[in-house]
Amino acid sequence: MAEANPVLNNPKSRAEADAGPTREQDLIARVQGGQNELFYELVRPYERRVYAAAFAILRNESDAEDVAQEAMLKAFANIRQFRAEARFSTWLIQITVNEALMRRRRERNVVMEGIDNQRDEESEYTPREFADWREIPSEALERKEVRQKLAEALASLDRKYREVFVLRDMEQLNIQETAEALGISVASVKTRLLRARLMLRDLLAGGWEHGWFSRLPFEKGTKPW
């Protein structure tokens, strides 16, 4: 079975995962033991991810920042309940998602969202673009223009697809954790994730036509045409 997950192959993500555990476990134990001053050091590596999770759900910078802060405070208040069998980052993200969903429920009409969620998942998504794809080097992300295009593409997705995609592919929760965080079934996560990935793929295919991928540095020996 065995194709390696490209998410886990991401050097930055893997480096973070490899470097963290021992130091992180030590920090967790010390904060749980009462060294409150170490809490920010513990959560600092995840602060942007916490914000991103809140923003994916709320789509408003101010609300997302407030919820991210609230989530950190809640994590601090409940740090003694954290158990080592879970990933700390996942625990933080789940708290954040829960806070964000509660904030949204307070401010929006949940009934209408419920109806909307039933739609679209019944029909399958058919890819529209079949251009030849080359591997886009990660150096592409050094360019603000590329990051902005990717962010715009993500923002254009319907909420239910965007949320699943962000939690699974950006926050790197697994399918089960994503389902639990959002309060939906594993099957729904898989369906939404597939559609989100294929829709983004179609949206990004335009990157070749409009040139924001075609000016990227290519590996030696390959040609960008």
Binding site: R48, A68, T126, D132, W133, R147, L150, Q172, R201
Partner: protein, 214 residues
């Protein structure tokens, strides 16, 4: 638009590949299905495009650089934690946190001291006197500790000639001495008129007298 009727020799349709591509990339399809998909994709340019595009999407979005927060977010979070959860700001351990204000006070005091030493003037020794102006700072003048004015050497109005010290006008002003209204006025009038020497009324003998008193 592509129809979903494209079936490869192994019997798998493109639609099946598209439906499973996400699980395939995540390594969540069984060995049998994976083998069939591999075979199909090898012979299907469109499905190869779908697979590579999906991999690119995941690779790009999973990069840390795609996760951004507003400028100053970390600082604001740190402050709120410090305020609401009694979490001390990072990089300052409990023993050193008090060092910052103390060091700031010490530095401020030292700065004041230096400023006084090199630039500021002390309070005038004579409250009725007018502070010195337009006097060449490097001019050699004489003062006595228990007096209030500084003089051009040889001035007739020097008191207590036995305790005279020589210094520059700048140093005398810094120490709060005020100019002698007689000799210094004559000196300034003389230099303004283009003469380099002070009043001829200050004689060499007087000057010797002054310096000899040190």
């Amino acid at each position: 638009m592509v129809s979903g009727e494209d079936v490869k020799p192994n019997g798998m349709s493109c639609e099946t590949v598209w439906r499973e591509v996400s699980s395939y990339v995540d390594g969540e399809v069984g060995v049998g299905l994976r083998t069939e998909m591999d075979e199909h994709i090898r012979g299907c340019r469109r499905c190869a495009s779908v697979l590579e595009g999906t991999r690119n999407v995941i690779r790009l979005y999973s990069d840390e650089r795609m996760i951004e927060a507003p400028a100053g977010f970390g600082k604001r979070l740190e402050k709120r934690l410090a305020r609401n959860a009694r979490v001390s700001p990072r990089s300052w351990s409990s023993w050193s946190a008090w060092l910052v204000p103390v060091a700031a006070v010490l530095l401020f005091a030292l700065g004041l001291r230096l400023a006084n030493t090199y630039t500021a003037e002390r309070a005038l020794r004579s409250q009725l006197a007018q502070a010195a102006r337009a006097i060449p700072p490097d001019l050699q003048v004489v003062v006595s500790d228990d007096a209030k004015v500084f003089h051009v050497p040889g001035c007739d109005f020097i008191h207590n000639k036995n305790k005279l010290r020589t210094m520059t006008a700048k140093e005398a002003i810094r120490d709060g001495y005020v100019p002698c209204s007689r000799c210094m006025r004559k000196y300034l009038e003389a230099t303004t008129a283009g003469r380099s020497q002070p009043s001829s009324e200050i004689t060499d003998a007087d000057a010797d007298d002054v310096t000899g008193g040190q």
